[in-house]
Symmetry: C2
Subunit: 509 residues, 2 copies
């Protein structure tokens, strides 16, 4: 019987387990400000790794980073009607620019009321569109491709750390093109970048595909997403890419003179990923001992804990020297084409406390060094993804120091691919393609329902609304039409009409 | 007679020149949103370089990055009285969380009024203090040191790009310590980090010192700053570091149990630098041809322009191949301990247009390659900090390709130190220590007034107010008491009483 580091169990209370991982791995906490979280060093360190790796991919695609205003005047939103409808209901609105003290309390100064209220950006299509309209004159300026790393705010009634918070951090790419083909190709490039990023650095397998009509970004012609399967079988939308047609260009006036001298509207795209990905990583790789952090995004990949007994100063010094020399040797090694990130943990805590704090945080490799290791030229190694032996004891290994140094990079790469393999099997084993009765299936699917793929005729309007409503009663939603799904060859599950494609259905965050 | 790239001249209209550099170097532009700017790729690229290098210094000091909420409840501000007084007058206040359409116009929905308005953070002492109160229990948790990279908002009536905008980007460090000595030492460490950063990567010489009482951060015990001298002789405060005593700790409840088991208040610090530094770089290094970007923070250090004539495809291909091979060789070189950043500019613009765009942006080295260079194994090189010969023509050199590759790193380092040297001479030549009549001095100081250092008795209260008022009439302010100023040895310039220290006075941004 294993004594796990957490109280909650994934199998019995997934929601509670998720909160406990976040708290015990010291990733984030409630801030006291409604709907906003504090991202703590380990959580923010993961975000910094994500930023660094994703930013390199964005730059490689020839896209420049910029920064646009936090505030968007209301009038910008009024220009694109569908966009307003989609966002108007959940925005933070700035109405005053000064406070004054009244009876010892601070209140907004009525004299400082803004003529035009400002919205705190929920996304930046409108304000970036206004800039693009200034920047684009001729076909020579196209494609115009920018990205920003920023905070955005969407007022949420029910919040959940990393998954749905009123304020979150993200990147948003915005591009303008001469024609639909150029814009569609960029939209798909971004989608593929997200797919490869999820499967690579996050070790999180995903299904990339097109969202159904009613799940599109407000104002978009089409929206694509990557969907990951969490360990409770639910879907997490982990990134989206939109082709916006010419409607945002028309609202903002993004026009160019083509080679024949005619004025044309640009075709635009936008695409984004956010701190939500960290929630996905937790629910993909976490276990009953906390997070298992994929090595590529772990702020520290190898944590070295010297076992200082504080009895014999010479002995402690020898242990410390040995640990330091190990760290400096590891610093010279590489994994994933980058220098290995090793940390020497010299906090004044007990070694066991330190060990379990790193287990819960999910450091991929944990090394402990005691006097006997120094004598034998060895070390004690815990591999976070293979924590216990069959007998329920910690699966500690005792490699030679030198061979560990040489193998460290390969070990980290092995952990990364082993985490991916485990999640990939789970994803593909739990997409069900032979379900004839969705209600019955989910009624009996137990604790790990997974997703269902069905053929459908892709109706719109009232017919679509009816299907959406039916699914909603079962707490189900349509996720996406996988890019690599087989062609339809039968009848629509919902309407009985000839099907045109296959779509994934599941419970979702 | 040199024909400069800009219309405005530093010597005759510095303010207009500053705006023109920003626009012609494509650094930023007005956004259309009151007081907010759009930071364009070249400007944001400089900020990314600043972030990268500063972040490394912050991490080296053992400080962790976190992220705290954008919104701060009013009640947090009410806790620290001096802090409120200092900031309450210029904050963006969120009062509603939803919009609704009324007669086709969007308005804040009255039903969505917040019970407690939220302030968009002007700085984060209060909200980070609340987190620190949760995180600190015992002396073992100290020092607690965090930093965040974030946007902040201070409502400004008169704005100026990079120098004073309603929204700006910055880093803010916040630390809690067991005692005054620990906090003061961290406050001075951050100050020294800023001084070294300004003099190093920004090539911008500064004077580090203590601000006088009336210029302190609201609620601080003491504030230190770095002050840089712009090319119009005005001072720019380019970074500040504060010792906050125990008042913020008291307001937020940041307490720890000391080794004897007693509850103690923490001593806290905060320190920040912002996108304002980019304004400082422009006004320190810009000339009548645009920006001269210090190589350490230049997004591209060497720009290679192939001269394609579009007459002979083979010839163009040979030029392009030669340019590409040059770039790939430069990519292998280092400067300042980092890989050289070279760009091959293949935009479909005329070579002369490209050349002048990079001159105005301030790329440190501009390389042009034509068919004759390919034949001769040479290249045409423009060094941005030595743009013209004495005869007013561009000072183009024609080094061998191979020797340029070998010397590129050293050339960049030489440009960096030459920019610093030029600014350093200007700074030290224009601090006047023998002025007996400040009014008369500034009345006749002409276009380059510089600063005055005087001895003073450091009065406070009404006596200080009177001096501040006198100076204000001359549009002068006290900058700081330099850390390395000579000790006082005479009478106070203002009061005639025995002086206690020397203080810098100047016009300022």
């Amino acid at each position: 019987m294993i004594k796990h580091a957490l109280q909650a169990r994934r199998a019995t209370d997934f929601a509670k387990w998720y909160q406990e991982v976040i708290s015990e791995a010291d990733l984030a906490e409630e801030s006291g400000v409604r709907g906003c979280m504090v991202i703590k060093p380990w959580g923010y360190g993961i975000w910094e790794r994500i930023q660094k790796l994703m930013d390199a991919e964005i730059k490689k695609a020839g896209i420049d980073n910029c920064y646009f205003p936090l505030f968007i005047p209301l009038s910008y939103f009024e220009k694109e009607a569908d966009h307003v409808d989609g966002f108007a209901k959940e925005m933070a609105v700035v109405t005053h620019h000064r406070l004054k003290a009244v009876d010892g309390k601070l209140v907004p100064d009525p004299d400082s009321k803004l003529e035009e209220p400002l919205v705190v950006r929920p996304t930046s299509e409108t304000v970036i569109g206004a800039a693009m309209a200034r920047w684009v004159q001729s076909w020579r300026n196209l494609p115009l491709m920018v990205n920003q790393w920023a905070n955005v705010v969407r007022w949420e009634m029910r919040t959940r750390m990393f998954l749905r918070t009123s304020e979150f951090l993200w990147q948003e790419g915005h591009t303008a093109h001469a024609d639909e083909a150029g814009a569609m190709s960029e939209m798909l490039r971004a989608l593929e970048m997200y797919r490869a990023f999820a499967e690579g650095p996050l070790a999180m397998p995903v299904i990339a595909g097109e969202k159904p009509e009613h799940e599109r970004f407000p104002g978009a012609v089409t929206t694509f997403s990557i969907e990951a399967m969490m360990q409770d079988g639910k879907a997490l939308q982990a990134g989206t890419s939109h082709y916006l047609g010419t409607s945002f260009a028309e609202a903002a006036g993004i026009k160019y003179q083509d080679k024949s001298g005619n004025q044309q509207l640009c075709h635009t795209t936008s695409w984004g990923t956010s701190t939500r990905m960290i929630g996905g990583v937790i629910m993909t790789h976490g276990d009953d001992d906390g997070l298992r952090c994929p090595p590529q995004i772990a702020p520290h990949q190898i944590v070295i804990i010297p076992m200082l007994r504080e009895k014999d100063a010479d002995e402690d010094q020898a242990v410390l020297d040995y640990a330091k020399s190990l760290k400096s040797k590891l610093d010279e090694r590489t994994a994933f084409g980058e220098p290995v990130r090793a940390l020497l943990d010299i906090r004044s805590e007990k070694a066991a406390t330190k060990r379990w704090s790193w287990v819960k945080k999910g450091a991929p490799l944990i090394v402990e060094i005691g006097p006997r290791d120094v004598e034998g030229g060895k070390l004690a190694l815990i591999r976070r993804d293979q924590l216990y032996n069959d007998d329920g004891r910690l699966a500690t290994r005792f490699p030679e120091k030198q061979s560990f140094i040489e193998e460290a990079g390969a070990l980290l790469e092995d952990i990364q691919s082993s985490l991916h393999r485990e999640a990939d099997l789970r994803l593909h084993d739990n997409i069900h393609r032979d379900i004839t009765d969705i209600k019955e299936f989910y009624d009996h699917a137990g604790s790990y329902p997974g997703w269902v793929e069905v053929q459908w005729s892709k109706p719109s309007g009232a017919a679509l609304d009816k299907i959406v409503e039916q699914l909603k009663e079962l707490k189900l939603t349509m996720r996406n039409v996988p890019l690599d799904a087989s062609p339809a060859d039968g009848a629509c599950y919902f309407t009985g009409e000839p099907a045109v494609e296959r779509i994934l259905i599941g419970r979702a965050y």
